[in-house]
Symmetry: C2
Subunit: 114 residues, 2 copies
């Protein structure tokens, strides 16, 4: 998608603090972190919202989650813990319409989750 | 797992307001809801934390997410939106050690997510 900010990050047209990349997934630091560790994981393929996810793409969410756990281990906060969040549309608070998984860690995340 | 409360729900040894079930996934209402709609999705297979997820199981998280989106459509709040949350260990606020995806909707979820 030409004007999608996360597609532009995936194409390296916009800089980001990228911490993981493979053929399908990109992980980079959130520019407005809400915890000491706040990383976003996206599929390189443009999918606007979770509502748009089709069965053939659902493995990407599995891979994003697995990658988040692997990053948590590499960065040393897996045992202490973390929270994974995906927002959909207005009530969820989605601001960029390219699906992304928030990985938050480094402090006790409170309940309710927003 | 003999003593896991979510395994017991999956085996129907403990009652729950089940709203979806197939061979791999179960969805039921949270007994302490934090939003007008608060549903938990679990794999029937016992996986203690996201850290324990292995590659061969990651498709289950994809299916849980896809099922959450399908439930959001069926229950009529997909367009308005929702939030998906998974907690891992103490900092994440994980209380039941059988992985589960929270689906919250029916109000504006705030930011930060806890």
């Amino acid at each position: 998608m030409q004007d999608c900010i996360f597609c532009k990050i995936a194409r390296k047209e916009i800089p980001a603090q990228i911490i993981f990349e493979d053929e399908q997934i990109l992980a980079f630091r959130d520019i407005d972190p809400k915890a000491p560790q706040h990383i976003l994981l996206i599929p390189k393929e443009h999918i606007a919202t979770i509502n748009d996810l089709v069965t053939e793409q659902s493995h990407l969410v599995g891979r994003m989650t697995l990658t988040a756990a692997q990053l948590a281990k590499q960065l040393g906060f897996a045992n202490q813990g973390y929270r994974l969040v995906m927002n959909c549309n207005e009530h969820g608070g989605q601001t960029v319409f390219h699906i992304h998984l928030h990985l938050l860690a480094g402090r006790h995340l409170l309940w309710p989750p927003g």
